[in-house]
Structure formats: structure tokens, C-alpha cells
Symmetry: C3
Subunit: 154 residues, 3 copies
């Protein structure tokens, strides 16, 4: 990630935080506070269309509840890890990931998948840090549900 | 929806309510009372085969637990909204929707999808009323789970 | 199931139980004890590749949490019942099922599917016993979630 990308990410964060402050009062009254984990383990299809659809779902979710009222995790395992692989080259996908992170969304990557597929998170995936890696994607899904997270498979 | 259709719907309701009263005692003893939300966001395939399969799952679910022991919601968003679009022309699909509604099943439609795809619920979808429309399908999925609904993705 | 198969199954159980005892201390500290239900209702694809992937997810889940810390159920209905049909002829798939059962995983089969598709569990499916059959796969999914099981759709 270049310095310019980081700067753009921070700008996006600021703009989206402002957007989140206005206009979501009504929706958040209905939905209150929420915790949700999104389970993504499939392929992205042509031009990452499936992944872009899933991230649009997540953005709509944040808009409805208000990012400040949500803890939202995305657990990627199996083919789903390709989301962050394709985000290296697909600028639209990368921008969506950056925007969601700017609103507090955490992307977790399954270590079993990294090891099993010989994926180097530093070079093969977009913006993955040590804390983002979980021992097992599926065990994490159960763990988070036991912590009160609701489950959504987009 | 014509008057004849409404009449047939009410007849179906009456017949199914009677069916629900008999014969489910054993299954409902195992399952007690249940709340479930079905998540449908995919396409229906040839002749709406996928949607018909999902609605068959729901009918089997009601049969096993007893409709009187269940609160069952279907949340439609993205391509899943086409279920009620295709139900306008596909008589079998329409009949299944009517029968399920007659047993208390609520079909919720995502407003984000309606707006994003320029869908008019009154003319483009089968039997959608204002109360059926929710601000966000995915936020509704989390909301319902937080209210004790179990999650099923058919 | 032949006597040789049963013997091999028991050997696998013993070996895997030993494997589970060593090396999972760290992961189980993170994840504690878990209950999970896996929902499988799709087709297995070429050479049962999709089913093998799902069973690999389950094995990884057990490895991360420790089989002794988990109650794990697989609910099969609709096309998902084919997993145990294909396991009759596909030796790799059969071995995976046997190994998972050896670690305490329960495979539940939907009776609605058996009746609706005229499937004889004794002759058409691999190693299904009366206790494995549940009245309704989908009702069982809700039932288990209401008993504290987390939901994973692989």
C-alpha cells in the first residue's frame, strides 16, 4: 500500500464518518446496535462482481444501522480469501475495502487457507496485518456467534 | 391481485389451518415453538426452480413444527426480490406464496434493492404491502436474529 | 459397511483422538468450547469436490477448537443428502465421513427428503442409522440453534 493510498484511505474515512453522522437517525432507531459477521468463502466471478455485491450489502447494512452502532466482521476463508487477492489489482474492489475499513469493518483471514494454499498475506493479499489473521475461519464464525454476533451469508 | 385470487387465498388459508391442526402433534413435541428467518438473495433459475425449492423447505419446516408454533419470516434482497417478481407470472410460485402467507409467513422486501433497481413494489412484485418493506434486508437479518430468530439460508 | 471398514473406522478414531489431544492447546484457549451445526443442502459437483471441501472445513474447525471441546452436527437435506449417497462409491469421501464420525461429528439426514425422493437410507446412503434421521432438516437447523448451536453454511 503506497503512502498515497493510505492518505486516500484516511480521507475516505473522514468523509464516510461524516456521512454516517447525518441521515441514519431514523434507521438506527429501528435497528439499535448490532453485531454481525459476514461469511465469505466463494469465488468472486467475472470482474469480482460477486465480491462487489457482498461489499455493497455490507455498506447498505452500515448505512441502515449507522457505522457507529455496529461491530461488523468479514470472515474470509477458502476461495473467499481471493477477495483480498483480487483487491490488489481491481481498483474498485480495493476502494470498497478501504471505505469499509474506514467505517470500522474488520476483515479476518483464515490461517488454514493461507497455509493450505501457500498464500503470503503480505504480498498476495491487499492490506492484511497480523491481527487480521485468525487460526480458522470456520471456528471464528462460531466463536463470534457465541459472542453475540449475528450471521449473514451474502 | 384480483378478487378471485383473494378469495382463493382465503380458502387456502382455511384449508391449511385445518391441516396444521391435525397430524403435527408429534413433530411439534420435538421442536416446540420456533422463530426462523429465511435469507433469500439469489436468482430463481429456470422456471423459478430454486425459489420453489426454498418455499418447499419452508412448507416442510411449518409442517414439522406446526404453523401455530412458528414465527417465520422470509427476507428478500438483491436478486432474491425476483421471487415476488416471478410470482406475478408463474402461477405455481404465486400459489406457494399465497399458501405460506395463509399460514402466517411474512415476506419482507429490502427497500435498498427496490430503490437501487428501480422496482415499483405495487406493479412489479406480487402482493407487497407497505408493512412488508424493510429499510435494509441485511440489517433486518441481524435485527431478527437479535430478537431470537434462527437463521436458515436455503 | 463391511467388518474391515468398521475396523478401519475404529483405528481412525483412535489415531485422531490422539492427534486431537496434542497440539490444539493454543487454539482451544482462543475458542473455548463450541457447538456448531453445518448446513449442507447443495450438490457435490465433479468428484464430490464441494462435499470434500465442506468436510475439510469441518476437520479444520475440529482441529482449531479440539474435537473434545466441540459438539458438531451436519444437517443434510435436499441435494445435500447426496453426500452420503456419493460416499458409498467415493472412497475418499467415505474415509472423510468415517474420520469425522470418529471425532464425534453427527450426520443428520432429513426424513422429508428421504420420503420425497424415495431414498432408502439403508441401501442408498452410507452408514445411516435410525437415530441419524430427523423429521425435517430445516426444522432441525432452527431447533439446534435454539439449543445454542452456531450456524455455518459452508
Amino acid at each position: 500500500m503506497t503512502h498515497l493510498n493510505r492518505l486516500l484511505a484516511m480521507l475516505a474515512i473522514a468523509v464516510l464518518a461524516m456521512a454516517a453522522t447525518f441521515g441514519t437517525a431514523e434507521a438506527s432507531e429501528r435497528y439499535g446496535t448490532q453485531k454481525a459477521v459476514y461469511h465469505i468463502n466463494g469465488t468472486g466471478g467475472e470482474e469480482s462482481k460477486v465480491y462487489l455485491g457482498a461489499l455493497r450489502n455490507i455498506q447498505n447494512h452500515l448505512n441502515a444501522v449507522g457505522a457507529e452502532n455496529m461491530e461488523l466482521r468479514v470472515v474470509l476463508h477458502g476461495n473467499g480469501v481471493n477477495l483480498l487477492g483480487e483487491a490488489l489489482a481491481n481498483e474498485t474492489l480495493q476502494a470498497r475495502v478501504v471505505e469499509l475499513k474506514g467505517q470500522g469493518v474488520v476483515f479476518n483471514v483464515c490461517n488454514n487457507t493461507l497455509v493450505g494454499r501457500d498464500i503470503n498475506p503480505e504480498t498476495d493479499l491487499f492490506d492484511v496485518w497480523e491481527d487480521d489473521i485468525v487460526p480458522s475461519g470456520v471456528a471464528e464464525l462460531s466463536y463470534l456467534q457465541q459472542q453475540g454476533y449475528t450471521y449473514v451469508k451474502p
